[in-house]
Amino acid sequence: MSGRARARARGRAPGPGATEVGRPSAAPSVMKYEILWDSLRILGEDGISSGDAGCTFIERGGKIRRDVMDLDICTREKLAHVRDCKRGSSGVPVKLVTNLFSLDLPQNWQLYQYHVAYVPELESRRLRIALLYSHAEFSNKAKAFDGTILFLSQKLEDKVTELSSETSKGETVKMTITLIMELPASSPICIQVLNIIFKKIFKKLAMYQIGRNFYKPSEPVEIPQHKLSLWPGFAISVSQFESRLQFTADVSYKVLRNETVLEFMTGICQQTGMSCFAQMCEKQLLGLIVLTRYNNKTYRIDDIDWSVKPTHTFQKQDGTEITYVDYYKQQYDITLSDLNQPVLVSLLKSKRNDNTEARMAHLIPELCFITGLTRQATTDFQLMKVVAEKTRLSPLGRQQCLARLADDIQRNKYARFELETWGLHFGCQMSLTGRVLPSEKILMQDHVCQPVSAAEWSKDMRNCKILSARPLNKWLIICSNRDKNVAEDFLHCLRRAGSSMGFNVDYPKNIKVQENPAAFLSALQKHVDPDVQLVMCILPSNQKSYYDSIKKYLNSFCPVPSQCALTRTLNKQQMMMSIATRIAMQMACKLGGELWAVEIPLKSLMVVGIDVCKDDFSKDMVVVGFVASINPRITRWFSRCILQRTTTDVADCLKVFMTGALNKWYKHNHGLPARIVVYRDGVGDGQLKTLIEYEVPQLLSSVTEASSNTSPKLSVIVVRKKCTPRFFTETDRSVQNPPLGTVVDSEATRPEWYDFYLISRAACRGTVSPTHYNVIYDDNGLKPDHMQRLTFKLCHLYYNWPGLISIPAPCQYAHKLTFLVAQSIHKEPSLELSNSLFYL
């Protein structure tokens, strides 16, 4: 295995077009729609009420749910071959339990949207709401009202209702309530209102809302050694699934840091001393999001002002001067203990988008909590292990949490009342039937193996020859003086492992250097020439600078495939042979070799994976990775990668990449592929529209320009690893993960999409999460069954892991590529490497 710990990319780039609401649009109908969304936003933020005698309700941070926006995009209706049926047929049926709960509504249930006008006009929203609610007509009705738009589940007698009320000042106010629209339960607006109702119910269950999720602060899991608190909770949503409305709940944990910025800074000071204290603080803290203890707000640390102390004064808004110490004492009864701490500076985003100077907030480190896990923390294996242990839930454990939640909702008096007045019935957990796809055979050079378990087949292919490999003749091993013996032992094993798989490894030139990154780099500069096929570096520590400098040099300045491994890894005597086997495979791939294949019935098919990820260096850059197969067997890959500003559309580079891939294909196969299937990963909520409007046309134009007569047929599939549905199999009173290859293409899918779920990753502990596939464009017209099976086959082809993975191999390759660039290189890798899997 590569010495580099396989860290996971943390965030997905929201990318361009994430906020579709803000996009100017000429079409008046769209404009109207946006106004309505805006009203829902206000409703979500400020208050919604139901029959309980006019008690209104606030919600913080209520934003338009971007995933709901995606649901509004109907792609299926354009795909004639799946309009009637998008279900596959092969495989063995399997009964599955889900984390979806049916929400039953009476037949013909509708939501009625009214507009309320006041004469004389009232400015205060609170007063407008109070006046309307004071009317007997509304006192026992389910309602949601933001001061202008009113939603009712029961229709008023008249289309226009006139009411009048008297304010406490004795003023008479006339209210005109006009029916605007009748909304069926499946309409996005109605679903948004239902989501707001459920949020309200969850607050009544003593749950605390953070972002979109609800947590129980009363039952925290504490990890004091790592200063962490985990709050158990749920990610919830109401949405329209295939045939009905469903309520989804997925167990989620909120990781809270029990550490203030001041404590963090003290820690840095203790570890590094005073000499480079300020520099280290800035390196580790800038860009972090902190939470203030007193007012529950989050800020980004943009700077640290070392010249300002808590004893200094600042000007309050009313113009008076006060010291920070006195201010916090007076305002929050907090006594600052460290009077020498600096202040953190955060630039506040202007609410209005004008050019006024950005406002700054000064924050006291002692009063700010760090949120999320720092990079330091995520590389701490022990910490991550503890977190994983505490948060991992077996399917049974997860099922118990769900059952308890359903019970809580059904028992809570308020929740029941709320649901009843709206006419909702909270039903039982939904079961459905999925299919387990037939297992795949792994094709080696002179052997076809049927793995015992598709999760991992390294044992099954022991002593089998890989499909093709170029001999490794001229190569280097660079290691520190201390690791001479390790290198020799390893080389011995590597050659043995290589020869048993048909990969010929000659003796390398061995270079011993000092134990520091600079020494490694200068050895590279001195010894690497264009004839060198591969450089192997044995790293004495997992300090990032070793890896980064080596990769940067060998991927862009002097393009030669490279292999890094940690001394620590190579020191594990008992595992030496299996480690050497893995590394031999990676090396073979990096030289352009092919390891194994699966049967692909389509004869001229190119598959493409696209992923997008944020650059680790500068947050306003994203890395777009593109990987395409260049032979019909799907064993050889071409890759491109680009860094671009977040503000640029991802699409811009796709046409160039696609054309490059087609040229490559043409060169190798003397023709164009008949079909192209693109798997697009790294898509954020609300981006579906951009994908359809910008990316698909780019890909299409490249494809049509490639040939004057018959151009290749294109399909585009959005891959999402994070999706809310979960599936379990029930076996005599226990609950388990479904078998590998389980496909779900009914009931938990969306009516407006051509989509399915596939479980292609094994989870030995914990609950497996299915991957969601949404076919947004499909000229190929493959049967759904074939599309599902092709996708499953592609999950077998990731050469860094002899087993199934959760997403199709091209996506994983693209992910690996973008991750390498975003974390280490921060530059486009050299085109000379584009024909090999150099990024493995």
């Binding site: 000007q315 201010y327 590389t379």
Partner: protein
């Protein structure tokens, strides 16, 4: 530029009684009234505080930060239609869970009037009626003293009301708010207040906020305030016999996590103890001078953290003279007797016995339970520390 921005934006959300004041008060008058109350709270440290006529609950929100308060109650006739903002700003936030208060705090909002009796408001330390009485009609105003002074009978009562002598300085000659039933001059208010104080055995002092502009000093403060203190001669116990009478409707209630709860205490204590031991551990690792005593590796120096420890010289001396931490194999031990000398630990537990019994539930102690045991090396010291 100050950090106080979010504080003022918070206030923007609440609708301040609209006034057409040309005279601008800095800070705004309503803030001056609330800060007057806050200062009094700082001074008298009341445990139970009620705000009659809490309006938009801004004062309740401002008072919830005071550590001394354990019960905070608001009563308002319009509660219910006003409880939007309250739920998020009066409920405990993430910070309140991460740094639990020393003492419990419950906040309750009732719908009800200051002229109705509810036994749950008897026995308070402080009651505030900020800009309340001028909204009462003559009938209610007559009932008001009997309920608040006679029945509730808190230790301190703060009553504020507009001073009508100030009104000519405003352009409009009417009342400051449409709903005001009256606005008194200083004599009227002080006469009423003194009579009430006499009747219910309180002493009263008069003051105010909103100083008049230069040249108009004779009109007095814009808001006049009476601070009533119960004459302590009377036994406060008498209220115990009050029969239960629940008239007010609870519209909101919430309880804050505090160190009174054992699990919170354990959590905070563990965090402080680990922080202290961590700083000594790093000192120990970096310090080259160690000697072996009875199988233990003991540092030669006092092993007191060099940075981040905010202590007086006496406290530092106490830490230095306490038993030193030591190391056996890959484990690092900090004697409990040393841990308890750290002020932040000492604040939470007063004896080594208590420290031992609490820590044994949450962290690992050595065999004879005299010291905390942690790993000598962690991820950080292994990968990042420069020796």
């Amino acid at each position: 530029m100050g950090e106080n921005k979010e504080c003022s934006s918070m206030v923007d959300n609440c609708e301040e009684v609209p006034t057409k004041e040309v005279i601008e008060f800095r800070p705004p008058l309503y803030k001056q009234r609330y800060f007057f109350v806050k200062n009094l709270v700082q001074q008298h440290k009341p445990k139970k505080v009620a705000d009659l006529g809490f309006g938009d609950a801004t004062l309740i929100w401002m008072l919830k930060y005071h550590h001394c308060i354990e019960h905070l109650v608001g009563v308002d006739t319009y509660a219910g239609s006003t409880s939007q903002w309250e739920i998020s700003n009066l409920s405990p936030s993430v910070g309140d869970y991460l740094v639990p208060r020393d003492l419990d705090l419950t906040i309750t909002l009732y719908r009800g009037s200051a002229v109705q009796k509810d036994s749950r408001l008897v026995g308070f330390d402080l009651m505030t009626c900020i800009e309340l009485i001028e909204h009462l009609d003559s009938e209610d105003l007559a009932k008001f003293p009997e309920v608040v002074f006679g029945y509730y009978s808190p230790r301190i009562i703060i009553i504020s009301t507009p001073n009508s002598e100030f009104n000519p300085l405003f352009p409009a000659s009417t009342f400051r708010h449409l709903d005001h039933k009256f606005e008194w001059n200083r004599i009227q208010f002080q006469t009423w207040a003194s009579d009430v104080a006499n009747l219910y055995d309180y002493s009263v002092e008069f003051t105010g906020v909103g100083s008049p502009p230069a040249g108009a000093e004779h009109v007095g403060y814009c808001t006049q305030i009476g601070v009533f203190q119960k004459n302590e001669a009377k036994a406060t116990e008498s209220c115990i016999s009050t029969p239960e009478e629940h008239v007010y409707e609870t519209v909101f209630t919430t309880a804050y996590p505090s160190l009174q709860e054992k699990k919170n205490l354990l959590l905070v204590l563990s965090a402080e103890v680990l922080r202290a031991s961590n700083s000594m551990r790093l000192r120990f690792i970096v310090d080259p001078k160690k000697k072996k005593v009875n199988g233990r590796l003991v540092p030669e120096d006092s092993c007191v953290p060099r940075y981040g420890l905010i202590v007086t010289d006496a406290q530092r001396a106490q830490i230095e003279s306490s038993p030193k931490p030591y190391c056996v194999g890959k484990k690092f031990y900090v004697p409990l007797e040393r841990l308890i000398t750290f002020p932040k630990v000492n604040r939470l537990v007063d004896s080594v016995e208590r420290l031992r019994s609490l820590l044994s539930e949450a962290l690992k102690l050595n065999r004879d339970q005299s010291a905390l045991q942690v790993d000598l090396h962690d991820h950080y010291s292994r990968t990042m520390l420069s020796y």
